[in-house]
Symmetry: C2
Subunit: 327 residues, 2 copies
């Protein structure tokens, strides 16, 4: 079973009670007795699959571990309330590394008002494994699901896409070169400007989830479907159109890209469109909104339109883009 | 850092906001706007540390994975609402095994009204690792903490202690013998009655958390401190007396033991008191209650009294009992 087949199998087994949103969106949504709903998101990060300890500092790993979960809460329009951290710790992940990990974790959790409230620690005979669960709340009925896109809606993304994927390329190149002899270094390895390099790597290691923007968008009734971009737009947009029984047309010339990202692609001879659409881990918001929506003053860009054609069209591109899959 | 030092370090870093109960009890407790509170508990189970895949069937592992978390919700007097399952899956944990695991998981989750609402799956290059988070609710202000024991309170436990530890011994013996030559088999290996054997193993693999009893006890104002027994009474009772700044005196002759457990200990020449106090994974409730408490009709036994002496006394025993530690 691949990742998506397994999720389908679990969905089939796990029937949610009425009034509860279970498997299939960024978060689960549980009713409360008052005017709020509880949101819950959980993610597991595994050494060797999601990160290599040679490539990421413990501080950055701590930061990223909680960031990816808070991003799921943000994508529903929720406010995070607290987090729960489980760690399977191999002997090589020393006390010093645990402290640095916790420093990064606590740093972002304080910044976003999401205190660490519990967890579990076990010793591991294998790789480091981290599981984070974040709970949040939102006003009853306003959480934004993937299934609410309507034909005619504009399709928007926050920030810029591809920076994280470019950052990962910088990191992997650095590793490749540091383990090769100097003579074997790629001729282009020194050409990325150090500031661009730092920016792109930081976007990969220390994403800042769009909590404020998510809350703002969820309070606007013209905003319909919403999710975060974790596997790349080319992989995540299909979730919205499938869940909404709709199609989409994307104007590829409108995909927002940072200057740093564009320079990086040019210097490396990479296709910026391919990297920005198919690279994962942007942790930006993807949402659809009706005509009444005004993006003025918000860090968002309209990139296309929801259609009723049940296809995903990349305007002006005679090709298909595919996102990242973990399995 | 050992397990408890690490938890102390994290507690120091993770300051809970006012009105929120964070690290240090069975669950976190978060306020809701209505008349309820949200409870959250999380546990990680690691192959090679908490279980061996040669010893436990996937169905049993699925059952146990959710049982241990629901037990934490029960220990606060809460009702479980939903669970979140993350799995790091090595290639050896085949689709067939995943299905059996989910069958056991879903079986107990349905029985206790705690649907599977979300999770994450990743591929693992190392051991199988499972993380479960359970959310629950209870009426505002009634969740039972470890810190509420009062001198003079009776100390009670539910059910019988030691069955799970005896079950584990049965399992480990079976493994030892199946890998040894027949001539090397211990002379006593065939003496445990098959029904006792099944009972004890089932108590180890398929504990049933005390949800109904926990809710019933939390509704009784004479019940003060409460927790579940996961590391053995000798390890868990100190958490209550430390948190309550009190002491305890236990009448060892009152420790409730099943007939199956007593027969097992006799046949194996084991000390039943040692095994029932120090063996872990009972998942029974441990609580303290004032004079007004009536245990009539409840599956609970009074085993001692909370004192103001700041020591834990095992009456009539000139020895110290120590519980199980995972690190």
């Amino acid at each position: 079973m691949g990742e998506f087949e397994l999720i389908e199998h679990i969905k089939h087994l796990a029937v949610s009670p009425e009034g509860v949103l279970g498997i299939g969106d960024d978060c689960a949504v549980l009713p409360q007795n008052g005017d709020l709903e509880t949101l819950v998101s959980t993610d597991m990060l595994m050494e060797g699959v999601h990160f290599l300890l040679d490539d990421i500092r413990p501080y950055q790993l701590g930061w990223k571990s909680i960031a990816v979960n808070i991003s799921d809460i943000a994508a529903m329009g929720g406010t995070p309330c607290g987090s729960f951290l489980s760690m399977a710790l191999p002997p090589s992940f020393t006390s010093e590394k645990i402290e640095a990990f916790l420093e990064g974790y606590i740093h972002l959790s304080r910044r976003l008002g999401c205190p660490l409230l519990g967890g579990d620690t076990v010793s591991s005979i294998g790789p480091l494994c981290i599981n984070v669960t974040v709970t949040g709340t939102c006003k009853k009925g306003i959480s934004r699901k993937r299934s609410s896109a309507l034909p005619g809606d504009g399709i928007y993304v926050s920030g810029t896409l591809g920076d994280s994927a470019a950052g990962l390329k910088c990191i992997l190149d650095r590793c490749k070169h540091s383990s090769a002899s100097p003579a074997a270094q790629a001729p282009d390895s020194g050409q990325v400007c150090p500031d661009d390099y730092s920016y792109l790597i930081s976007r990969h290691y220390q994403p800042v989830p769009r909590v404020e923007l998510g809350v703002r968008l969820a309070s606007d009734p013209s905003v319909h479907a919403m999710m975060d971009i974790s596997d790349g737009l080319a992989s995540d947009l299909p979730h919205i159109i499938e869940a909404s029984h709709a199609g989409a047309s994307i104007d590829c010339s409108l995909i927002p890209m940072s200057l740093q990202f564009k320079r990086f692609c040019e210097q490396r001879g990479l296709d910026p469109l391919e990297l920005s659409l198919c690279g994962g881990e942007d942790y930006e918001l993807l949402f659809t909104a009706g005509d009444q929506f005004s993006p003025a003053g918000l860090p968002v860009t309209r990139i296309g339109t929801i259609t009723d054609a049940r296809v995903l069209e990349w305007e002006g591109q005679n090709r298909i883009f595919e996102g990242y899959r973990h399995f």
